[in-house]
Structures are given as structure tokens and as C-alpha cells.
């Protein structure tokens, strides 16, 4: 029972991190029909910038802020100079973001060196509480709360603001939105930058969670994020949070029972979804 609770909390925390990474992917895909492979690199960049700021200033929240700023800047650069020039050019737009992923990931090693960096959560978030006989690791609870906050914030943005209305309409039919006089290019840029910033935030939050960061982690976690996006349905925020929690929980339980099969079971989950419901569990359209 204790182990079960422990694993569940761990799975939910991992799931929330995956959600931060996947929600940008799913929105960018839903709106722009671009599979953004460079998203994984933003995750690594967020982790490195966040950790660097955190370790130099000593403030964890300044670190998170730094990661957000880095995500915004890099997202802008990638959208402006890599993605936009190949908009609507078929295969080129699938191919090009992979190049951006490689260059950005490798550039981390130029700036911070090729070695792993270890990092601990700040004092007020480390350790754990014991509530009624079960141990609750503070940092994991913190991750879950942040994830929920971002989810409800995004929901409010999408459902309650005019910008959110345009984004939702763009996911449904971008040509129509453009025909109605909305500068869809600017909305693309906004969504791309927002998604990149959230991925970077996810990376910065991930660093104290795993304890070590390395340049290739972006590619690794991007794989999980792709699973989440496919299972949840491209373009759906609710889908991506539920799928992320599902993938996180399955990963945590399998890691405990049969560690070798953790990724395989999630792959199988994706294969089943692709086979029976290719639009994803919560996707309205493909």
C-alpha cells in the first residue's frame, strides 16, 4: 500500500512534467500542423538555464524565471528562422525541426560542457512530510501543483480570452480564421513561444526532480512527449494532461514491477491507440 502510494505520487509528478512538454507540442501541431522536434531541445535548455541561474543566484524561482525567458527567446528564434520559412512546404517542415533539435542540443555542450550537472531542490522544497503513515515527497507534490496550475491557466486562457478563442478557432480551421481577418502568423508565433516557454519550464522543474541533467535528456523525454501527444490526441490540452498522467503512472508502476518493459508498455499503448483511434483518446480530429 505504501509502495503503491509512493509510485502513484511519483507517476503523477512525472506525468505533470510530461504534460508541460507535451502541451506545447500538441498546440503547435493542432494549430500549425508542424511536428516540432526541436521541442525536446527547449526542455534541455530550460533545465540548463534554470539550473545555472538557480545555482549562481541561489534562488530557485529566479531559475524558473530564467528558464521561461530562455524558452521565450529560443522559441522565437526557432519559429522565426527555422519554422516560418518552410511553412506549408510539405516534407521540409517535418525534416527541418529535427535539425534544430540537434543543433540546439549540441550547443548546450558548447556552453556548459558535455558533462552531467547534478542539482538538488531548494531547502524549503526538499525532504518529505509524513501524513497518516505515508511519506509525501515535497518536491513531487510541488510538481503536481505546478502542473495543475499550468493546466487550469491554459484552460482559462483558451476558454475565456479572445486570443484563446482565435487559437481554438485556428485549430478547427485556420484558413477560415485567416479569411476573417486575423493575422494567423502572429497567433502561430504566440502559440509557438508559449509552448517553448512551457517546455523550458518543464525542463527547469525536471532538474531537481531527477537530480542530474544532461544534453541528451531533451531527445529522450521528447519521445515520451510524442507518446503523450498521440495518445491524448493532437491539439487537445485536456487530452494531453490526461494522457501525460496515464503515461507517467504506467511508467512508474512498470518501473517498479518490470523495469525493462516500462517504455515498451507505453509504446504498446500508443500502438493500440493508433490502431483503434488514430485521432487519440481525446482528439476531435486528426
Amino acid at each position: 500500500m505504501d509502495a503503491f502510494f509512493h509510485l502513484t505520487l511519483n507517476g503523477l509528478a512525472t506525468g505533470m512534467l510530461l504534460f508541460l512538454l507535451a502541451v506545447g507540442l500538441t498546440l503547435i501541431f493542432g494549430l500549425m500542423h508542424i511536428l516540432n522536434f526541436s521541442h525536446g531541445a527547449l526542455f534541455s535548455w530550460g533545465a540548463y538555464v534554470g539550473t545555472w541561474v538557480y545555482l549562481t543566484t541561489g534562488s530557485f524561482f529566479l531559475g524558473l524565471l530564467g528558464a521561461l525567458v530562455a524558452g521565450v527567446l529560443l522559441g522565437w528564434v526557432v519559429e522565426r528562422f527555422v519554422v516560418r520559412p518552410v511553412q506549408g512546404k510539405g516534407l521540409a517542415q517535418i525534416l527541418i525541426t529535427l535539425g534544430a533539435l540537434l543543433v540546439l542540443s549540441e550547443f548546450i555542450k558548447v556552453v556548459w560542457g558535455p558533462h552531467q550537472v547534478s542539482v538538488q531542490p531548494p531547502a524549503y522544497l526538499s525532504g518529505s512530510w509524513e501524513i497518516g503513515g505515508v511519506v509525501v515527497v515535497k518536491y513531487r507534490l510541488f510538481l503536481i501543483l505546478v502542473g495543475l496550475g499550468v493546466f487550469f491557466g491554459l484552460k482559462a486562457l483558451l476558454q475565456r480570452t479572445r486570443l484563446g478563442l482565435v487559437v481554438r478557432a485556428g485549430v478547427q480551421n485556420r484558413d477560415m480564421v485567416q479569411a476573417l481577418g486575423v493575422n494567423i502568423g502572429r497567433v502561430f508565433l504566440f502559440v509557438f513561444v508559449l509552448g517553448s516557454a512551457l517546455a523550458a519550464l518543464g525542463g527547469a522543474l525536471f532538474a531537481p526532480f531527477s537530480g542530474v541533467i544532461y544534453a541528451e535528456m531533451g531527445i529522450e523525454y521528447a519521445l515520451y512527449a510524442f507518446l503523450v501527444v498521440v495518445i491524448g490526441g493532437m491539439g487537445s490540452v485536456t487530452g494531453s494532461v490526461l494522457a501525460a498522467l496515464l503515461v507517467g503512472l504506467v511508467g512508474a508502476y512498470m518501473n517498479y514491477l518490470v523495469p525493462e518493459a516500462a517504455l515498451a508498455v507505453n509504446m504498446l499503448l500508443m500502438a493500440v491507440v493508433l490502431l483503434f483511434r488514430p485521432v487519440g483518446l481525446f482528439g476531435a480530429r486528426g
Partner: protein, 345 residues
């Protein structure tokens, strides 16, 4: 006249390559050329998918690795003989055909993004399996194995690889020139239209995927035989990236392009590895390749061979009466696959 001249160039080049081991003493150069031949086959197999059919795979290393492990395990567990070598090639073909069929049947019906993602994730899975299944693969340490007596010399491996490249080039040329290959190009140019003409588009795509998988598996098998060693690096993202770079830089939608691309990229690997001793920035060679790749996709989507062919065509057209221009070659990256033309509901 032009045709016979071209044939003479081919013949001279082929003879030169055949005679090279007798002229060149350096064993490292022979090994490098062997690698180029094998990666050329691997890149051509990828080009059948990307350049001819317009399918983007981000997990081609999967087949390369399967072939490499098939060869290594058969050689190590059974015996180093010609029979075992043939068995390894058959085993590699069966494994690659089964996996590529399953992947293709599952995801090629959907939009191109799904295939790209699925292959990326699956090759990641195979890498993890190869690392964890230590009793079979020895994990990241890998294992060395012996090869048949007659294959031990560098020259023998060189000639075998050259023959393999020639055979696969001839085979793929036949395939892309056949009615089947024409349908693949039609799918690349306009999938909805090919389907409307009555072709079972899905079957053609799956078959293209299977052929590419099997040939990539063989190139992996020969790669392992040439090194007499195999470890998990054969499944790495770098190997997939090599296929992409070689095909796109060389020229997608041509068969010579990937061969040229393989030569360039392998030489660059080699050269940059030497330069790494002079300045640390050259250790980060992926940055250079990534930038070249981005620039190639953006500004030279037809690659070297495609661009040269276009110049050649423009020049030959100037002095001649107008004639129909084949528009197929090298356009894959540029134009195809607008997701709105293919719906999956």
C-alpha cells in the same frame, strides 16, 4: 555519343574502384571506402522511402541495427562460415521485413507525421532493448566475433562491399524504373490523385517500406561484418541522422545522390575527427552537420545531384527544341505531403 561517353566514364570509375586495393597500400583508406559503400546502400534504401515515396522515417537506424545484430549473433553463436553468413542475411531480411511490415501497416494509413514519430519512438525502444538484453547483445559494451577465413582481409571485405553496393544499386534502379516505382513517385507527388486513379496506395507504401527496411538491414549486417564487432551504437539516433543527411545533402529522389552524400558525410566524419585534436569546437561536429542539414532543407531541397541535374537540364534545353521535362526527380523534400491533401478522418 553522349550515352557511350557516359558509359565509358562509369566503366572507368568502376574499374578504378575495383583495382584500388591493388594500388593503395593504406588500410585505413580501404576501411573508409568500405564504410562509404555500405552507408551508400543504407542511404539509398532510405531514399526509396524519402525521395521516391515521400515517406519520412526518423528511425531508419532500427533496420540497420537489426541487420547488424543478426549478423553478429549468428556469426558468434553458430560458426564463421559462408553458410552462417547466408543465414545471417536471411535472418536479417526476415526480421526487417516483419518489423517494417508491422510499422507500415499500422501507421502508413495515417498522416505522414505518425510514421515519423512512430519510427523515432520504435528505434528508441530497440536501443533500450539492446542495452537491457545483455545475455544476447552484451549491452553497450558490445561483442566481437569472427568472420569466415576468406573475409578476413581488408581487400576481400572491400570487394564484397563494392559488389554489394553495385548489386543494390542495380536492384533499386530496376525497382524505381519499374511500374511499381512509377506508382511510388505518383504517391509522392500527389497521394490523393494516385488513390483516385485506383492504386491501392497503402499497399504500395507498405511494400516500399519493407524493401527499404530489408536493404537497410543488409547494409547493417555488412557493416557489422566489416568491423567484426557490434554494439548498441548501431541503433543510435546518429545512424538515423546519417541516413537523413546523406540523402538530403546528396539529393533525395535520385540514387546517385545518396551515394555521393554517403561519401561526403563519411569523409567529413573522418576529417572532423582529425580536426578535433586541433580545436575543441570540432568535437561538436553535430552542430556543423545540423546547420548544413537545416540549410540544405531550406535552400537546396534537391541536394547536390538534384541541383546539378536541374542546371544541366536548363543548359541542354537552351540550345534545343523544347522537350518534355521530367519533373519528378528531387522534388520530394520541396513540395510533397501537404497534410491537407490527405485526410484520415
Amino acid at each position: 555519343m553522349r550515352r557511350s561517353a557516359r558509359r565509358a566514364v562509369w566503366l572507368a570509375g568502376g574499374l578504378l574502384l575495383l583495382a584500388l586495393p591493388l594500388l593503395v597500400e593504406s588500410r585505413s583508406w580501404l576501411l573508409l571506402l568500405t564504410q562509404i559503400f555500405l552507408f551508400a546502400v543504407y542511404a539509398m534504401s532510405y531514399d526509396l522511402l524519402l525521395g521516391y515515396t515521400g515517406i519520412v522515417s526518423f528511425g531508419h537506424a532500427l533496420f540497420f541495427g537489426l541487420g547488424a545484430y543478426a549478423a553478429g549473433i549468428v556469426m558468434q553463436r553458430i560458426e564463421a562460415s559462408l553458410g552462417a553468413l547466408l543465414l545471417a542475411l536471411v535472418l536479417s531480411a526476415v526480421l526487417c521485413a516483419a518489423v517494417s511490415y508491422a510499422v507500415g501497416a499500422l501507421t502508413l494509413r495515417l498522416k505522414s507525421h505518425f510514421f515519423a514519430m512512430f519510427t523515432l519512438a520504435l528505434s528508441g525502444l530497440f536501443l533500450v532493448v539492446a542495452e537491457k538484453w545483455r545475455s544476447l547483445t552484451m549491452g553497450n559494451d558490445g561483442f566481437a566475433f569472427s568472420v569466415p577465413e576468406w573475409l578476413r582481409g581488408r581487400e576481400a571485405m572491400y570487394w564484397l562491399s563494392l559488389g554489394f553496393l553495385a548489386a543494390m544499386y542495380a536492384l533499386l534502379r530496376r525497382i524505381v524504373a519499374s511500374p511499381f516505382g512509377t506508382v511510388l513517385v505518383a504517391i509522392r507527388e500527389n497521394e490523393a490523385r494516385a488513390a483516385a486513379l485506383g492504386y491501392q496506395v497503402h499497399h504500395y507504401k507498405v511494400l516500399s517500406c519493407v524493401i527499404a527496411g530489408v536493404i537497410a538491414g543488409w547494409s547493417g549486417a555488412f557493416h557489422a561484418l566489416a568491423l567484426r564487432f557490434v554494439n548498441t551504437s548501431v541503433f543510435s539516433v546518429d545512424v538515423t541522422l546519417d541516413a537523413l543527411l546523406m540523402t538530403i545533402v546528396g539529393g533525395a529522389g535520385t540514387l546517385i545522390g545518396p551515394i555521393l552524400g554517403a561519401a561526403l558525410i563519411e569523409l567529413a566524419h573522418h576529417g572532423l575527427a582529425d580536426l578535433a585534436n586541433t580545436h575543441w569546437i570540432f568535437e561538436r561536429w553535430i552542430i556543423f552537420f545540423g546547420l548544413v542539414y537545416i540549410l540544405a532543407v531550406r535552400f537546396f531541397p534537391q541536394g547536390i545531384v538534384g541541383t546539378v541535374q536541374r542546371w544541366g537540364r536548363a543548359r541542354s534545353l537552351r540550345g534545343m527544341p523544347p522537350q518534355p521535362v521530367s519533373k519528378g526527380v528531387g522534388r520530394a523534400v520541396e513540395t510533397v505531403g501537404d497534410e491537407r491533401s490527405v485526410g484520415n478522418g
